[in-house]
């Protein structure tokens, strides 16, 4: 159901972005990348936050199932993180003429966040499976979530004005209703897609674990 909603919303969002929404003055056609890049980035943040929430639950309740849920959420966040970096790079190339700008804090902070979560997997697989690994992974996932507001707000804190700020306090610079509508449809689509992928991935991982236990019991 979630997957179907995601597909319908995303297809609608893409059609709206390409054929319905008016071109942004100054940005031109390339501004259409915004409708996929920003929702994908926000979805990555949401996945990391969800992973941190599950990690907190694990440390709180000491239930093993939260470890797998937190791990799956971080896994999803990393996939959406890759998509954010790639779509952001494409936008940078068409807007600034370069694939990457080290001078932009938003970009660099997102890269740090992404690499931080890549290291999560290294940590996880460097420790033997068991309660120790679960606790270490949970603490690491919780630490990573601190970087999210920093990365999210960096654009507003940055002195550099290279990165386009879309939601500002200035009404004239804000999105029009059609742009906002398209953005919301795309965001809802990517969130539904992430939710569906999370559920599929979690079911697969649980099945994998159960099969391994069954194999051990039968051996």
């Amino acid at each position: 159901m979630l997957a179907l909603a995601g597909v319908v919303l995303l297809v609608t969002g893409v059609v709206m972005a390409f054929y319905w929404v008016p071109m942004a003055p100054g940005e031109g056609f390339r501004q259409r990348i915004f409708y996929i890049h920003v929702p994908v980035a926000l979805t990555a943040y949401a996945c990391f936050a969800w992973g941190a929430w599950k990690a907190l639950r694990l440390l709180w309740k000491r239930e093993e199932r939260y470890d797998l849920e937190s791990y799956t959420a971080v896994h999803m966040g990393t996939i959406f993180g890759v998509l954010t970096l790639v779509t952001g790079s494409i936008w940078a190339r068409t807007s600034w003429g370069v694939w990457w700008s080290w001078g932009d804090r938003q970009l660099v902070l997102f890269l740090i966040l992404f690499l931080f979560y890549c290291a999560y997997f290294m940590l996880r697989y460097a420790v033997e499976p068991g309660p120790r690994r679960e606790r270490l992974s949970a603490v690491y996932a919780l630490l990573g979530v601190v970087l999210i507001p920093v990365s999210f707000l960096a654009i507003r804190l940055a002195e550099s004005l290279i990165h386009p700020t879309v939601f500002t306090r200035d009404v004239n610079e804000n999105l029009t209703s059609s742009q906002l509508g398209t953005f919301i449809v795309c965001l809802a689509g990517t969130l539904c897609l992430a939710g569906a992928l999370y559920k599929i991935e979690l079911t697969g991982k649980r099945l994998d674990r159960q099969l391994r236990e069954l194999r051990r019991a039968l051996a």
Partner: protein
């Protein structure tokens, strides 16, 4: 097609390609899980057959 149009299309195509790649990889994983389930079911059936075949031999031992 202008370069801006090409780049915008590429950004959407990348997202679609990654989602499709994920679905393909998951299809492979699903087929592996199916194969493992079939193997385990066969193993369990063999175990059951062995147990059933071994029961008459064990019966006198228990009586004794």
């Amino acid at each position: 097609m202008t370069s801006a149009e090409k780049y915008a299309t590429a950004a959407y195509a990348v997202v679609l390609a990654v989602v499709l790649l994920y679905v393909v990889l998951y299809a492979f994983k699903l087929s592996r899980l199916q194969r493992e389930v079939a193997e385990l079911a066969e193993l369990a059936a063999r175990r059951k057959a062995d147990t059933d075949a071994g029961e008459p031999d064990r019966e006198p031992e228990r009586v004794a």
